[in-house]
């Protein structure tokens, strides 16, 4: 699900990549202030206390470091770790940390903190990396800079998850914390320290003066992040120069507008977020593969991309896997638009129009109707659902769109976010976050009959068999062929119709800061965008009071005064006739 975005993972290069291959151009001098308008309040920004995967987890990564980091191609490369070895059987990882890593409070980050973090996170479940931690048998710390991890079985994706995912906590602060979700101290070792957080108003980060990395240093002195939930307000602020970057993806209709705005630049790249038409394969007639194929053939995904996304998207591949995914060795299957074949498929399974009203009845001769559920507050998806309904009517299927509050849709499609709790829908507009594309094991969860993300109760023995081969992979190279085969199979069996992958489009003001790096599948708000190759340590900028809170105070005061005046005037006028 997009709203509870899980962690990002990436494409893995197990070969000993020890140096980052990213080079960010550097424009901004240290001591400057960067203002990033963010569209959600993400809470206290501890590893347990953020709300959404984006931008929340990205902000957590500014204040915390992990042992590995995902580079701009989303491959895990060492970060806190200087060098590492994997034993021959793949079960023993020896990690050597950099020396002189400091937490924001000045204490040292050592192997003890690493061990503490991994132990703590095993004990206090975290939705994103909980699974990945289960395979750890033991962690040893022979000296302050060496961590030895013993695994129960080889994990080819171990560097990606958990190593590049889990933020390292300061043991001396988190020791004794029993309720991590209520804990708000965000002291970490990351390039920026969370200096101030006023819920609903803003975040302020300051550069970590003793950042450990020999090459990569914080790029700016202070980052102020006003929280601006409304899209129009956020992009107006950007255009007016009140913020230097907006975390929200630029909606397609604004791209040209912002591109032409003076002083604003736009970066565009692929995003691994996906938009789908989810099918409840448990319910008749959606349990029939011919019916599902007919649905897929009736949809012109390129037309959807052109209409809803104005072309700023990649048309969905029927195999779900993004064409740019590095897991896909062979070119993925292409979407086919063939309403005539859809019609003949429906005829073939007994869906014919006996009454002559242009709409088909089911094989028993009863009128047939299917309903598409959609979040009422997602205008783009509502529009897409309307277009889909039109396409299905064109092949003779009576289709109704039902826009409902997001929580209600979730409770019908994915009650309690637990697929074993059943479901009650025909079709639903759905979306998965980028992380699902990045980790091949997530693909199994999506289509395997026992998969934890299989919200359509799709079940196909052949798919199960291929998906299970992902589990027994012992090396990175094993994944590619399986993923390609699975994509081909998914395209044929249609557990859902993949509609599009929206482009990640981000707007910023280059004159304020031009170090933004587009991280594949993710966007430009990333730690890599905000560190720079530098040797000298930037000075912290003078503390500037961010304006939103105050301004708002004045506005309210003014409003109250005006309202008061109006009441008094009104009262006087009303009262006058009563006087003799």
């Amino acid at each position: 699900m997009v709203r509870t975005t899980t962690g990002r993972a990436g494409i893995l290069l197990l070969a000993s990549v020890t140096v980052l291959v990213v080079a960010a151009p550097v424009v901004t001098a240290a001591g400057t202030e960067l203002r990033i308008g963010t569209h959600t309040d993400e809470g206290p920004l501890t590893p347990y206390g953020y709300t959404f995967g984006y931008p929340g987890l990205q902000l957590v990564r500014l204040t915390y470091d992990s042992l590995f980091i995902m580079d701009r191609e989303r491959r895990p490369v060492p970060w806190l770790v200087r060098e590492y070895e994997v034993s021959e059987d793949g079960k023993r990882w020896t990690l050597r940390l950099h020396e002189g890593i400091k937490f924001h409070d000045g204490s040292d980050l050592t192997s003890a903190d690493v061990k503490f973090t991994y132990t703590y996170m095993t004990r206090h479940a975290h939705a994103v990396w909980q699974r990945a931690l289960r395979g750890i048998e033991a962690i040893e710390t022979p000296d302050p800079f060496t961590v030895e991890v013993r695994l129960a079985a080889p994990q080819p994706l171990f560097a990606l998850r958990p190593l590049a995912e889990v933020p390292i906590l300061p043991a001396h602060i988190w020791e004794g914390v029993t309720d991590p979700r209520a804990f708000t101290d965000a002291t970490g070792s990351g390039p920026y320290r969370l200096a101030e957080y006023r819920p609903g108003h803003f975040y302020r980060f300051e550069a970590h003066p003793d950042y450990f990395h020999p090459e990569w240093k914080p790029a700016v002195g202070t980052i102020v992040m006003p929280i601006i939930p409304d899209a129009t307000t956020l992009f107006t602020a950007l255009r007016a120069g009140q913020v230097d970057m907006a975390t929200r993806v630029v909606p397609p209709e604004l791209v040209e507008e912002l591109r032409q705005a003076p002083g604003v630049a736009v970066q565009r790249g692929p995003s691994f977020v996906s938009t789908l038409l989810q099918i409840n394969a448990e319910r008749e007639p959606f349990d029939r593969v011919e019916f599902r194929r007919a649905l897929a053939l009736a949809v012109d995904v390129q037309n959807l991309v052109d209409t809803i996304q104005l072309g700023y998207a990649t048309a969905g591949g029927p195999g779900f896997v993004h064409p740019m995914s590095a897991w896909l060795l062979l070119p993925g299957p292409e979407a086919q638009y063939d309403p005539d074949r859809a019609r003949s498929l429906l005829e073939g399974i007994g869906f014919t129009d006996r009454t002559g009203d242009g709409l088909r009845e089911d094989p028993a001769g009863m009128p047939f109707k299917q309903t598409i559920l959609v979040y009422a507050d997602r205008a783009d998806r509502v529009r897409a659902a309307e277009i889909l309904a039109e396409a299905f009517r064109a092949i003779g299927l009576r289709t109704e769109v039902k826009a409902m509050e997001a929580g209600t849709v979730d409770s019908l499609v994915w009650p309690e976010f637990d697929v074993t709790k059943g479901r009650d829908y025909d079709l639903a507009m759905w979306g998965w976050s980028a992380g699902i594309q990045e980790n091949p094991l997530s693909l199994r969860e999506l289509v395997h009959s026992q998969g934890s993300l299989n919200i359509g109760a799709f079940s196909d023995p052949e798919v199960d068999q291929v998906a299970d081969r992902l589990l027994v992979a012992t090396g990175i190279a094993d994944f590619g062929p399986v993923v390609s085969e699975l994509a081909r199979l998914v395209a044929d069996r249609v557990p859902f119709v993949t509609l599009w992958y929206p482009d990640g489009i981000y707007a910023y003001r280059p004159e304020a800061y031009d170090g933004w790096v587009y991280v594949k599948g993710l966007g430009i708000l990333d730690k890599l965008s905000l560190v720079t190759r530098r040797v000298e340590v930037p000075e912290a900028a003078p503390v500037a009071e961010p304006p939103p809170a105050r301004q708002r105070g004045w506005a309210w005061l003014l409003l109250a005064a005006a309202a008061g005046a109006a009441v008094v005037l009104f009262g006087l006028r009303r009262a006058r006739p009563a006087r003799p």
Binding site: A231, T232, E253, L254, A376, A379, E386, A403, E405
Partner: protein, 288 residues
């Protein structure tokens, strides 16, 4: 008597220029809604061009975010908007009339309970409650009508009750009651006809309010995004960036102006009607 009361109202409208203006505006808009299939250049859901086109010869008000003709959308939207206004007002005034009549006629405990409920509804902050209810019940046309009616019946109930109170003490009513008229008979024969002109005036005021509420709720995204009302046109304009691009001129202004015009029409009509039959002006009627 009912017939006579309504005729008197008609006369009042004819002789008052604002009333005449109001009723004409409404008539034109109603006609536009009824004749939508003939006057609109395209169907409201037909995708007839590229999305986000500025006004041109083929599309006088341009196209919206999925390439539907905005002019057609606005003309067809009159149907949904006016229907919601009228249905919600009908529901609100019906409930209000029943409650008002019962409270006024029976008095005592019935009056107490009903009027305290009315006080409660009147005193609760209207806009937040409306948003809360709409969000809680979920987006659908019925819920919208329900929310609007549920919040608006209190005013007509109050007004009707005061009229009933004054009617109840009229000689002919007391005479009929003394002659043994049962409560249902009394209400049907003597009370309802007496309040009917007033109810009509209240209805018009409610309809204008209901339309405005529908537009506001839809604009905020709490309406049914699948219905083509003026409010939803505004909603899509807002969420698809019309306020940031220049598109608001042809996407926001037309439905906005139409809403203003309708409300103005209702208001002018309503004020004229109210001025002629409101209880506070009953002196004039009593003198005759």
């Amino acid at each position: 008597m009912a017939h006579e009361g309504v005729t008197r109202l008609g006369r009042a409208l004819k002789t008052s220029p604002p009333g005449m203006l109001g009723i004409s505006v409404l008539a034109v808009l109603l006609l536009m809604a009824v004749l939508a299939p003939a006057t609109a250049p395209y169907g409201p859901r037909e995708r007839v061009g590229r999305p986000f086109q500025p006004p041109g010869s083929r599309h006088l008000l341009g196209t919206n975010d999925v390439g539907q003709d905005i002019l057609s959308e606005v003309i067809w939207g009159a149907r949904v908007s006016l229907t919601i206004g009228i249905v919600a007002a009908l529901a609100a005034t019906s409930v209000g009339t029943v409650a008002g009549c019962a409270a006024g006629y029976f008095g005592g405990l019935v009056d107490g309970v009903l009027m305290r409920t009315v006080d409660l509804v009147l005193v609760v902050p209207f806009v937040p409650l409306m948003i809360l209810l709409a969000a809680y019940l979920g987006p659908s046309l019925y819920n919208l009508v329900f929310v609007i009616a549920g919040l608006m019946w209190a005013r007509p109930a109050r007004v009707v009750r005061s009229q009933v109170l004054s009617l109840r003490t009229r000689l002919y009513v007391e005479a009929a009651k003394a002659a043994g008229g049962s409560a249902p008979h009394m209400i049907r024969r003597h009370i309802v006809p007496g309040v009917l002109p007033l109810v009509l005036a209240e209805f018009v005021v409610c309809a204008s309010l209901a339309m405005l509420i529908e537009a506001s709720l839809s604009f905020l995204g709490l309406g049914d995004p699948l219905q083509k009302s003026w409010g939803t046109t505004l909603y899509y304009a807002r969420v698809r960036g019309a306020f940031l691009t220049g598109a608001w001129v042809w996407w926001v202004l037309p439905p906005g102006l139409l809403i203003t015009l309708t409300v103005l029409g209702f208001a002018l009509t309503g004020f004229t009607l109210e001025a002629h039959c409101g209880p506070r002006l009953a002196r004039r009627g009593a003198g005759r």
